[in-house]
Subunit: 233 residues, 2 copies
């Protein structure tokens, strides 16, 4: 809403969605704050402080922290409190690898369920993405990129897998910018996305899976290099 895009990260389904007003939406607000980067990684999350900040009781905050811990956004140590979890370079890579595996599968399924209407929507996003690249707007591009992938998840109609990727994404969101700012990436990325759309439109599962794999493998590769560079400097 205010800061970044609204649909960038969907809240992982289940778990008492309809929550009272002040009470348990503490979870949602705290989550948003962390994902948006309003807390530093490794920053301590003191229950009493959070309770005051969010106008909730300590009980609610406590429940939220337990959830976020299980979700991997927060790290809780017995008697020592909670911190915003810092995902290491190593782990960020692992997460990305899992994402490759899952999105491959999702692409495969999407290919068997895609409708002409879906195809039109994907093509439109692709156009907008091109426009952003031409306009030199990496943030807008990144946002559309997210939309693109999320749309494929939706087409695939695999709730379990979609929830998992969404979850992983919110954990590694802090690393995203690294792969975006790579020089020469946008053009290539655009072509890769185009191929994905074509493969899906052709309703060809193997080709769709391969295209997605190709695309995301390159993202992983880029991330690897970025990390290596970041590490040796």
């Amino acid at each position: 809403m205010a800061t970044t895009s609204p649909a960038v990260t969907e809240v992982p389904a289940r778990a008492a969605e309809r929550e009272a007003r002040g009470g348990a939406s503490a979870y949602l607000r705290l989550r948003e704050a962390i994902v948006d980067g309003r807390f530093q990684p490794n920053e301590r999350l003191v229950e009493a402080d959070l309770a005051r900040t969010f106008g909730a009781g300590r009980t609610a905050i406590r429940a939220a922290l337990v959830r976020l811990d299980q979700e991997g956004l927060v790290e809780r140590q017995p008697n020592r409190g909670a911190r915003v979890r810092l995902v290491s370079d190593r782990e960020a890579l692992e997460i990305e690898e899992v994402r490759v595996a899952l999105e491959q599968m999702l692409a495969r399924h999407a290919a068997t369920r895609i409708t002409p209407r879906d195809t039109r929507n994907l093509r439109q996003i692709l156009e907008e993405m091109t426009a952003r690249v031409d306009a030199g707007d990496p943030l807008g591009y990144s946002e559309l990129n997210s939309r693109f992938h999320e749309m494929i998840w939706a087409i695939a109609g695999q709730g379990v897998a979609s929830t998992l990727v969404a979850n992983l994404k919110s954990q590694s969101i802090r690393f995203q910018y690294r792969t975006i700012l790579q020089p020469g990436r946008p053009d290539r990325s655009l072509r890769e996305h185009a191929e994905i759309v074509e493969a899906l439109a052709a309703r060809d599962p193997d080709r769709s899976e391969a295209a997605m794999r190709e695309h995301l493998s390159r993202v992983v590769e880029t991330l690897k290099q970025a990390i290596a560079r970041h590490h040796t400097r």
Copy 2:
């Protein structure tokens, strides 16, 4: 311990492992009880009752339920309590599909990291599995089957992915028996496992991934049929 195998499902890593005595190990014990099937699916989980049963306070039980909810083993509705989550046939299939995707990836990674010692261990498990089949012991076979796959996860050295599959497995554990009891399955399954070992031993990522995919795709297929049969009867 009493009912089924002890190592069948590893507890998903993170989250305050060192917990006080009676206090928060409530989570572990409740989890085990659910996974072992000591609670019926959809059975209500009343906090006060659980607290008495496990000799813990309601607070601890509450935290445990929140965690289990996030984990997908329990379903919590505001003001209406928690139940053991019932995974639908549909969802069981989805879960299995995700498992295919993840284990494929894990096999690929394992192929690049496997040591001669690992190979020996895998071969040995394979032998024992053969023995179980010959002895007509499906439960023992199933247990070894789990060990086999878990060993590959360990070899792959991908903590994130491993945690996810382990988690998924505990959710769908109730469906396992359906695929096991399929006639003619054991022999074929055995051959598939053998091919996986060979591919890994050859340190061939593509072949390993393909072998795993082949194997698990068949499991999915079997599950599909079992569900269909179960549904139309």
